[in-house]
Symmetry: D2
């Protein structure tokens, strides 16, 4: 038993309840196409498929959904990133800033541009979810050790029940993927899978 | 070489520049005294000592400083924490919510109550730093894999140069401590030490 | 007919619905006691009485409530106020920063310190209301042309149904009081009275 | 002498200092073209001309600038507006959501979509201004009694020196225009004119 567990971390389960909102973080081509420096990692491609399936169910049940991409007008309005490709290519008019059509349906989903790691940071997603009466937020997208981690923290601190289906989030390597699920799973969020979330949306009940 | 490095993560250094603001995260007795369930981890006690020294220098140079603690009136106004001790003991009137006198000087430091993991989340610290013209934010406190991680993300996304002196942040175990410094150090923040920060504050120049 | 009305301002009614949260803005002694420079205006004293009555009903029905005061540690952490008394006396340890016992029950109400005009600005009130599932926010306190105006705007932009019982908000003079109710009543909020709000809380139905 | 003045409102001048950032609020065609329900008010057209001149100076001096428009994907993601035209026409793909070319230069200005009255509410403008080291914010656009009022409050509460050039903000009627300048001018902002702001930007000194 690790020392976090011994001290009572992760003892409480959160659970899904009430209206579900889904956020899809940074499934823009920069991350889903191999030709870009940060793109095409296997865990990310797996998450893209599973999120695509989840989004179809969410739309069929009228759940509020938001898909974001990260992009800037210039280096002036970007924060102090340490990643070369973000500084050079994450531009509003760059082809890699387009949302992957596998997860984005422009007729239904709210599209937001974000400038920080969290999809909730200075975007209209929290006000949208308040107006809709969302109680449970499901986080999907990439990368687990970057923008997913940040989005989970924000969802939690804004007061939502926060759920991470493990097969809907991806990363460049397995290590940081699991390290971050471990950290948030003992503090802020339930780690589950897409089947459980689909079942809850379809039946309003947690799978058992 | 790992796959993050190969893709250009961590290639850019941020650097300290301009006015420095210091934040001290959650050095309340709940984390610094052994008698409490989450308290007294060796890495945390080491960070407490180093932060104490750093704060004395910061105050002598009139740098803006903010120390926060996490506490709630009741379970109603607390987010969905998964940690038993936080749910039961993190109360505004609980003795473990008092800031450790080793790092807090009530004559000088701004004290803020926070309710999420990040010291910047819905607190007056960002407005204070804007008014003061802060450009570089130094993050200290605990735990690296919890509230430090969250505070680093927020400092970065608000547009500050973000610096983490490794010996001023602590955690319950070494693993998550280093995992999180690795994640933020390749994306959002420079990982350095208290000597470098002290030197910069005293001379306005980065140590070389 | 004025030109706003002709262009369609105020054509839509919002209505109360769902769970109600109540905020009480700045009923600290600085505004409710005559001996202080900004204190004791007749409209404010009237609002204090009506809010006191409303809060008793809210507590009896377990509605989430939040009472704020405005205060700073020093001039450094205060924004650029143009009002002398705010700059000199609005301090965390000043006797005029105490909440008026007529509206504040420390056993029940969430007390928050705020630093801007809006009770929602960088405070934990929005996260509290999200966790509670609040749909309708009722705004009380003072002054209508200052912190009430700011709080109404924020409640609206965060996505809540926003209700202002006119007899629960006060100001120094009648002119600015009514000017501001006019501005927000045609855009962001329903202007009603404490009887209507009490009736809705007690019956879950809008009075007719 | 009114009772606000007697109590010390407006006694302190803020002044322009340091780096200037300019925000242009809602000069989208919905407000600048007569054919739309909310468009073409004389005070707004005057403000458009003066802002156009101010923006040319700002760009020539490399000042950070941000122009916003208000628009939604659907009624679901819009807050509870009471104005029919906003509910029906303020859509991301509606021709009236285009920024007026008189004030917007897409090669230079940061364009942001906002969803609340304030240009700072859940948009990347504050992080941009922090990264740029902005100390003084100049507010232009429309309407004085709506989105200008909200933006002034936010600029103030975020800690910036807030300046409103009266001839760069407009409204549908003169009454609410002046009422709101009165309210904010005694609390949060200096009311000045475009010549003073131009002079400060060009010389770094306040005109005397």
């Amino acid at each position: 038993m690790d020392d976090y567990k011994r001290r009572g971390y992760g003892e409480i389960n959160i659970g899904m309840k009430g209206k579900v909102g889904i956020v899809v973080v940074d499934f823009q081509l920069a991350f889903t196409q191999k030709k870009y420096p940060l793109g095409g990692a296997p865990l990310v491609m797996r998450a893209l498929e599973n999120t695509s399936r989840l989004m179809k169910v969410a739309r069929a049940h009228q759940a509020p959904t938001a898909c974001c991409f990260t992009a800037y007008k210039s280096e002036r309005d970007a924060p102090h990133w340490k990643i070369t490709a973000v500084c050079e290519q994450f531009r509003v008019d760059h082809p890699s800033s387009v949302l992957d059509p596998k997860i984005f349906d422009e007729r239904y989903d709210l599209k937001v541009r974000k400038t920080g790691p969290s999809i909730f940071f200075q975007t209209p997603v929290v006000p949208y979810f308040i107006k809709e009466g969302v109680e449970t937020v499901v986080i999907t997208g990439c990368n687990t050790s970057g923008c997913i981690r940040a989005s989970v923290i924000d969802s939690f601190q804004w007061g939502f029940r926060t759920i991470v289906p493990e097969d809907c989030v991806g990363d460049i390597e397995e290590g940081p993927h699991h390290d971050n699920l471990r950290d948030v799973g003992r503090r802020y969020a339930d780690i589950t899978n897409s089947d459980e979330v689909v079942h809850f949306i379809e039946t309003g009940a947690v799978a058992s």
